[in-house]
Symmetry: C2
DNA sequence: CGATTCTTTGAAAACAGTCAATCTGTGTGG
DNA sequence: CCACACAGATTGACTGTTTTCAAAGAATCG
């Protein structure tokens, strides 16, 4: 289970073996089955979570009770409700598993201590956050300017490792269109 | 011109007078008139910019050439193309002035040096970024789950200091709906 | 005043959402 | 191995909303 994280972090950050082991030693291992929650609305998000294996989603519910997916996350991604994690306020979102998953968790405090001891870890987190921020901004651009068809095309291009792994109606939710519409788009699409 | 920044930063960050002066001394002052560009697509964004006075917008153009507004920014906000700034790649967006504006700029390198010398500045930037990230994520939720009317209501609630300062068609662009639709929504709205 | 710039309006067409029913595949328990 | 239940996908008809197009009206600025 650690092996996967070792490979990932070695590629992305310039850590000494000691630093790497220190990080691993501070982690909490967790396995969740499909449909189990990592976080529920109203709870305070306390962990930085790395996905070793599996697939999760973060979603919120609207006034009508419908689920709206904020993001998907698979192997080698991080997931948490950053807003709740940074502010300490109750989370507005849920995080649950779409597949049986293996996770590595660090509490906020533990991770902060690690960042103090290991400057490269802080730098790594900054880089990761910056990329995540850019992706989020890009998604806004897509949300306000693409047609439904373009959104779908963009999705399968951007996430080839996700789109065939999650139900269609969840992709529709992620894109902000109805599952029927997405289904029709996909049908046209196949004719080409 | 510095006075405004002094007030702002004193309230938000715990800096010594020396540190504050060091930051100011490193800044570049700039005045731009309405419609002038701070950044154009294809250029590399090199500055962290604080808005002393005025109103700017960041936008991208779609395939059809239409402008899609990523964000607005007014006094006491920061603006830049973070993606270009962090990656060093050409910007995909434009930033221009909706009003005559007064700005304080720091080059990426200058700002990095300041952050090294002044840890509290780095902490401050992290807090600012975190809030900005949360706002961006929240906007995605709105984009994929709110009706146009709800989007507009939310906008005027969230940005009371912006909505009566920028043309309606730009708000429409920001919200991802046509100007005609927004106009009609607003008319209904007035009847209540 | 004249020229932009922005807003408003109407009518038609395109589009996406909703509803309701059916179909398909998968996994579970008997 | 079958039957059933469940999750998800698909389809058609219909409804409602939004976009588009075109034109006319305000408002603002030099």
């Amino acid at each position: 289970m650690f092996e996967s994280f070792r490979r990932y972090i070695t590629e992305k950050a310039n850590l000494t073996p000691d630093e790497l082991e220190m990080i691993l030693a501070a982690s909490i291992q967790k396995k969740l089955k499909k449909k189990q929650y990592l976080l529920q609305e109203g709870e305070v998000s306390r962990y930085n979570t790395f996905i070793v294996k599996g697939c999760l989603r973060q979603y919120r519910t609207g006034n009508d009770g419908a689920e709206h997916i904020i993001r998907f996350a698979v192997e080698d991604w991080w997931i948490s409700d950053r807003e709740s994690l940074t502010t300490g306020l109750p989370s507005k979102s849920y995080i649950d598993c779409l597949e049986d998953s293996e996770l590595l968790l660090w509490t906020k405090d533990t991770f902060n201590e690690l960042k103090i001891k290991i400057p490269e870890l802080r730098a790594f987190e900054e880089r990761t956050l910056a990329r995540s921020f850019n992706a989020t901004q890009n998604r806004i651009h897509i949300a306000i300017s693409y047609t439904p068809e373009e959104k779908y095309q963009n999705f399968i291009q951007s996430f080839p490792n996700i789109f065939n792994r999650v139900p269609l109606y969840m992709i529709a939710s992620y894109l902000g269109i109805s599952r029927e519409t997405l289904n029709r788009i996909r049908k046209q699409f196949a004719h080409k």
